[in-house]
Symmetry: D2
């Protein structure tokens, strides 16, 4: 049975102290045989609702911070990129490149990322059918052979709300790629005039359980020692003190799923 | 740990022979300690897309058929009603009354059903927020004390597709009532000009796994020895020959959920 | 050029005094050559969000009230029905029978209404594609020959909001039937946990202008001398004092549309 | 009364011959007093569904082509940009910079475009509430004073379909900016697994009429002498031979709207 890939970290890079505090917990979790941890943090929140919102340390400083985490912990690291010309520099530090959902249709960004040879984690656009991620996979595969994962992070469902179409998990898996569930951004509540994106932390665990039970290859959470102090996504984050318990519960579900049989894309099924 | 309620049967009553064949499998499943089976079939499909579609035997004959199943098997039985004046007659035969999703806002129907003293299984309207089922619960509770369950069966998501907002399960549970997941109608694909409602049977198990992992009180499936010969919903049904295997896999997931801890409404959570 | 049918009235029957006050304005509007007015009011709001909400005088008293309006004013009258066995009695008083959107798929209701020989105004379900109203037309046409109109009143668009897909107007017209635009219920904001349905009166005129410019056969408004005192839909209603001005603006747009050419279903077009 | 701004052109720059053919018609239309024409074409379709799709001549050659159109016709020209570092070069040739809907949340792109001092035409993201375009306006206004227009081009409505929420026009206008209606992309039918985006040309005129009747400041169409030969968006385009007739009909509606009174944001209304 494949270990579950666990992508986790604070939303945005703040200080080495906070990153280290989170990385310490992640390192401990990574000692389990049934999970492979990847540390994730953003150096730039490039599409905040409001221009006044905090964006992060920028690429140069952010990559240094990520490099220090990697060195200290031995964990692979990942971050998201927003422009094609960021891909090469980021690929020198990061083991996995993440493409934001809003940018899932930007051909040049996908191609530049794929050309680095690093694997990609492309989030399904909130405005895209899961079937249509096939073309994203094709774009990436034609440009590089590092591999592609597709990530469910919620789909636009009326103003102010996202919905996870859980059918997207088997549909995207049937495209022949590993599938990630983003349990943090799925519970966002887009602003509808409030100036920032809200969230609903209590829904993280139910949705994560559902995704693991359907069968996924990786899961993504943001976690923070004090979520409400995070400059971004605080409302959706798992408090660090509860993170190991949550992961443990999910891995128990996964073991059961492994024993009853993972569903393969649209294949098996009832 | 509470047994899972399993509501199952053919979509619509056809012949005693088919009902018996299905009931035989259900009776065998019901011998398990961790599941309580309720036999379900409709006597009238009152809102078929096309007037030419088969509707069923009607109330009088249908109730006789359901009564025979109940007598032969000892299983409780349920069916759906469409008009207030059907409630009393149906309540004499059925242990549970189901209210169709399209009719979830019809006050008189809810009240008439609740007044029978039987418990109700009210499907969330495809056009309703889960929070708004609170008023349905209030209408039923004010009229009778048989109890109410709320059922997730998919929400309107663009023409031709439904989506399960899995957040509806904890939201409706937080209203203080048991929650049902309808794994058959959730995978319907409404017509969009085709004259009948299609479906996608392969998605039944993934969604059922997800719902069980989130935590539900009951699950509803339609099953048939030859789904493609069913006059309604064939595309969504679980073939009878695969039904026990499916139920067994779901119950293994449920046992794990029971051991790691059921989520209670919006309460626990990460 | 066909006169525009204007269906209007208070939402629900309250008192003869209020009905007469509204009918007086409608009678004056009806003197124009370019408009035919139908008085509309409900005798029962059968699907209020909350059981505690006011429902109206009931069928017997309501039909008497509608009959008095018809006698006093000479205007044709219409109301909505909820159960098949209401159809015959209502058809004795009303010139047009309205089928609520939630009930647009209930075969027996459509058939009973059509059998009266009166024309029907069937609202497109909030959960239906406009193409699928074809089957509703077929059900009605097979059962009676009074004619059918289809009404756009908004489509479910995430929790708490409806959207008018204005493409539904030419799509439904291409089914060969007259099309109505319901400018009042289109601006509803369903509750999402608030216990009643809100609305946004300022959007009535923009949407009505849009519908008239696309080309419709009838338009429906609720109006009230004091909307905020109405037991239902007050937030969406046009204040009676502004009603004639609104109708006049819409008719000016219609005259222009008549002179540049009505669009016929999906036909003409650019 | 303000002239209507008419933004029009082929989707993507192909040859000078085709551009000239279109520009000739546009120049003739521009002689009217009630309309101001802006020529629009893309130099790069940067987010095509499939990597194999034709993208255009690129920025350098594209700007030369646009410059030639501007010189020959005297018409102002506009194009869309995808990366912040394209803004300055494009602003030297173009009088108006267009921001694609998928990129409406990319802060750096908005800021770079606004800093050129040129006015912006920002399309509302298919995944955004109209109210939330307020923050886009704020981002642009803080960075430059060329002015901003907001454009309705359809909102995600289930897989495979967009809907125009016509309420977005008065809502965005109430933010204090001119509003554009994109009558071409609004009728797109996103792929849902087909590899390219389809469309429905017959819906262009009904929707354009609706938008003009509500009250807009500008309208955008793609037109082509042979739409079916266009490398992109052919299914949505207005054939050039029918373009003047369409514009004339819309301007007649606009004159009526001007005489009955434009609606100002959420202000007037019924």
């Amino acid at each position: 049975d494949q270990p579950l890939m666990l992508i986790a970290g604070p939303c945005v890079l703040q200080s080495d102290a906070i990153s280290s505090q989170i990385a310490e917990v992640l390192t401990r979790i990574n000692e389990r045989d049934d999970v492979n941890v990847v540390f994730k943090a953003s150096f730039d929140k490039a599409n905040r609702t409001s221009a006044a919102a905090i964006r992060g340390p920028g690429m140069a400083e952010g990559l240094e911070m990520l490099g220090r985490i990697a060195n200290q912990t031995g964990l692979p690291v990942t971050t998201d990129i927003h422009l094609p010309d960021q891909a090469a520099a980021v690929a020198e530090v990061c083991d996995l490149l993440q493409i934001p959902a809003f940018l899932a249709r930007q051909t040049d960004l996908i191609v530049a990322a794929a050309k680095t040879g690093r694997p990609l984690n492309v989030k399904k656009g909130q405005f895209m059918a899961p079937e249509d991620m096939r073309y994203v996979v094709d774009k990436a595969t034609a440009a590089g052979n590092g591999g592609v994962m597709l990530c469910e992070r919620g789909t636009f469902f009326g103003y102010g709300r996202l919905v996870n179409d859980m059918q997207s998990l088997p549909i995207m898996r049937s495209l022949g790629v590993p599938v990630v569930f983003d349990a943090t951004h799925s519970v966002q509540r887009p602003g509808s005039g409030q100036g920032s994106t809200g969230g609903n932390r209590e829904m993280v665990e139910p949705l994560a359980r559902a995704a693991v039970a359907i069968g996924i290859d990786a899961i993504f959470f943001e976690t923070h020692p004090e979520p409400d102090s995070s400059p971004s996504d605080g409302a959706n984050m798992v408090p660090l003190g509860r993170f190991e318990g949550l992961v443990d519960r999910l891995l128990q579900i996964r073991h059961t799923i492994n024993s009853v049989g993972q569903l393969n894309g649209t294949a098996q099924a009832s």
